[in-house]
């Protein structure tokens, strides 16, 4: 059977965001994978060099829709480290609350998407309904469902009132029951097991060698969690465990994420019961002195790495973001080799890819055609066919 080169993406129903996996197939088996990224490339790092720190707060938040708070948390920690600013305890607790609320809504979202990838739409509908509980809590406290605009340099901009705390605790009770239900489904539903068990194998030493991060690494038995290893915000004094399974497959990633939901609920309960009194914001100067700092947090998908180099002005001199999905990409290519075509979407979905995050570096510019020249539909179609033919895709 001749090798068929099948392009999955950049536009493909399985991929929520444009990404291109060129799969070389031998019948139903995947032989080779080539991953091409850069389609949602917005040049955020270059843009950040042209904006002041207060304005960058809202730009760094829009790197990704579902882990936006992890990026903001990193950015504020970086700036506060260079300023040598210690934020009030209460602000730290509120920041941890938002980090965990975001982990909840990201994991629920992923459970639904994974269910959809393997054709289990009922699970998709149920998980996304329960996610609404978390979204409502976030909207109630921060004023917006996704980009919370919660952090300012030196603390937090909105406070958590007594009534908010009561609502959050109620929400957590409901979600705990749902998490139990999903754990039961994930472990016992035969058809999910059929599609998830020993699919997309990533052995521990391969995961270590290719520097996989987050639930993808933890499902292969590697106990790495920035919240435990390098505690930030108020993780030092919140009791929680790092979840790992050693099944190295997609089912392991499902189980790790479901158990992390249960863990996050416990953390949020602890935070709400021990929220210290005090103010929530300390005024920060506009100019940041010369210096460099590194900050990384445990985003829902893994280690999110930020580097800031400041030059004493109002604008950062260089800001580097490396998101968890980029770190997991070499591991994904490794996992895809040797599997079935039918499993490609679920394996890709298993690392919970956030392509928007990954392509955050540069301004996309159409090189050849003069900007502003109207391309006719026919010319675009010709261009597409030529572009694909050059790469030998038989589509």
């Amino acid at each position: 059977m001749a090798h068929v080169k099948l392009p999955i993406g950049p536009q493909h129903p399985a991929l929520k965001e444009p990404e291109n996996f060129t799969i070389t197939l031998d019948g139903e088996r995947v032989v080779d994978v080539d991953i091409r990224i850069g389609y949602t490339h917005r040049g955020i790092e270059k843009l950040m060099e042209t904006r002041t720190y207060t304005q960058n707060l809202y730009l760094v938040e829009r790197i990704c829709g579902i882990c936006s708070y992890a990026h903001v948390e990193n950015f504020t920690q970086n700036v506060e480290e260079i300023l040598g600013l210690q934020i009030p305890k209460r602000a730290e607790y509120i920041r941890t609350l938002f980090l965990e609320l975001e982990r909840l809504h990201s994991h629920f979202l992923w459970l639904g998407v994974a269910g959809h990838e393997i054709g289990f739409d009922t699970l998709f509908m149920y998980t996304w309904q329960d996610r609404e509980v978390v979204q409502d809590l976030l909207e109630m406290i921060s004023g917006n469902r996704v980009n919370y605009a919660m952090n300012a340099i030196g603390g937090v901009r909105r406070d958590v009132s007594q009534e908010h705390r009561k609502k959050v605790l109620e929400g957590m009770d409901y979600l705990e029951k749902r998490a139990e239900f999903y754990k039961n489904i994930a472990l016992n539903e035969k058809t999910i097991l059929a599609r998830a068990q020993n699919v997309g194998i990533l052995k521990p030493q391969v995961a270590l060698r290719l520097a996989a991060v987050g639930p993808t690494a933890r499902a292969s038995g590697i106990s790495v969690d920035i919240r435990k290893d390098d505690p930030y915000a108020s993780y030092l004094d919140t009791p929680f465990e790092v979840i790992t399974t050693d099944t190295n497959d997609v089912l392991g990633r499902v189980v790790v994420r479901v158990l992390e939901i249960v863990e996050s609920i416990k953390i949020i309960r602890y935070l709400m019961e021990h929220l210290p009194e005090g103010d929530i914001l300390k005024k920060a100067p506009r100019k940041v002195p010369e210096g460099e700092s590194i900050s990384h947090t445990e985003a829902p998908r893994g280690e999110d790495f930020h580097y800031l180099h400041s030059n004493g002005t109002e604008k950062p001199e260089r800001y580097k973001v490396r998101t968890p999905t980029l770190a997991n990409l070499p591991a994904t290519a490794e996992m895809l080799k040797g599997t079935y075509l039918a499993d490609v979407p679920i394996i890709v979905a298993a690392i919970d890819p956030c392509m928007g995050c990954m392509d955050r570096v540069l301004i996309l510019k159409n090189g050849q055609e003069k900007p502003g020249e109207l391309i006719s539909g026919e010319k675009l179609r010709r261009y597409g066919i030529k572009w694909y033919a050059e790469r030998g895709w038989d589509a």
């Binding site: 393997i118 054709g119 289990f120 009922t122 539903e189 058809t191 599609r195």
Partner: protein
């Protein structure tokens, strides 16, 4: 006198238990399918006439035949599929226990006609000239072998019990011995799962699993041709469910012993309708409770579980027939 019979059979053929009825019933079945599936997922679901609106809209849309596609076969495939289904529907006993024309072996004819739409889907995919379509077509073909065998065997056990291939005898026999249903209960469930596989519905909808290879065999279809294929699929669901209702649940025969005096054909049709809807309801439940499985898993599931179970069922039927002395 001949002319009235002729007119009656025209009415039978075209209007009531014929094409118009099947057309309306399959649209209603699709509506029911999408509505209950939505309500299970706590969504609102489509309005009543949505399937009809989809059909009309699709037939009005532009109908593209790709350059690389083989024009004749690309057009013929959906028509063949639909024609086979409509023909199969005529043999089902709806109005009376005999259907339009019943002879010894009409069960086998209906079963045969039910496989043609799957073949039509394969041809449609293969001749569409698109690599996704061909891959989808190949999957439909591999599916065909794993789900025709259990479906055939499961549906033949009641015939075995009664000893004749005529659906009319089977329904009369089952109405007379209601407890027969327990004996062929295993066959009923296997037939249900195999029908789900034949119709390529959720647990087995691998050919057009949209998250893997776009839309499988139907990827190049649009406009009227796609509308025909969708209608063929809905009709196939109705005919399949009807067949299971006839063979296992004694079709138009009301189980409870009331003897309708007049309008018996209306009561028979209503009973048939209810039983078919019950079977469709079971299919919907099956669809919403499971995830999609892979091609290789599906084939191994068919050969490791379904076919051996049908053999067991046939064995039981033989024993009951031989010893039971019914």
């Amino acid at each position: 006198m001949g002319r009235i019979d002729f007119l009656l059979s025209i009415v039978y053929l075209l209007l009531f238990p014929g094409f118009l009825f099947l057309f309306a019933f399959s649209l209603f079945a699709e509506y029911l399918d999408r509505k209950i599936y939505a309500r299970i997922q706590r969504r609102v679901g489509p309005p009543f006439l949505q399937p009809f609106a989809d059909l009309v809209k699709l037939s009005a849309k532009e109908d593209i035949v790709p350059e690389k596609a083989e024009h004749f076969m690309f057009t013929a495939a959906p028509i063949i599929g639909l024609a086979a289904i409509f023909a199969a529907f005529l043999y089902l006993p709806i109005v009376s226990t005999t259907g339009l024309h019943s002879f010894n072996g009409d069960l086998v004819v209906v079963l045969y006609l039910l496989t043609i739409p799957t073949l039509a889907m394969f041809l449609g995919g293969w001749y569409s000239g698109n690599v996704f379509g061909q891959k989808g077509g190949m999957r439909v073909a591999s599916l065909l072998f794993s789900y025709e065998i259990p479906f055939f065997l499961a549906l033949l056990t009641p015939a075995l019990l009664q000893g004749s291939w005529k659906m009319a005898d089977i329904t009369r026999f089952e109405a007379a011995h209601p407890l027969e249903f327990i004996v062929s209960l295993l066959g009923f469930f296997i037939g249900l799962i195999a029908l789900q596989g034949k119709l390529e519905r959720l647990p087995f909808d691998i050919p057009e699993a949209e998250t893997e290879i776009v839309a499988g065999p139907l990827v190049e279809y649009s406009g009227r041709r796609l509308a025909l294929f969708r209608l063929a699929r809905d009709a196939e669901m109705v005919v399949g469910a009807g067949l299971i209702a006839v063979v296992f649940l004694a079709g138009p025969e009301p189980i409870l012993p009331l003897e309708p005096v007049y309008l018996s054909w209306l009561v028979a049709a209503l009973v048939f309708l209810l039983k078919t809807l019950f079977v469709i309801f079971l299919l919907i439940l099956l669809k919403s409770a499971v995830a999609r499985i892979r091609t290789d898993q599906m084939i191994s599931f068919a050969y490791q579980w379904l076919i051996p179970l049908t053999l067991v069922q046939i064995f039981i039927a033989i024993i009951v027939r031989f010893f039971g002395g019914i």
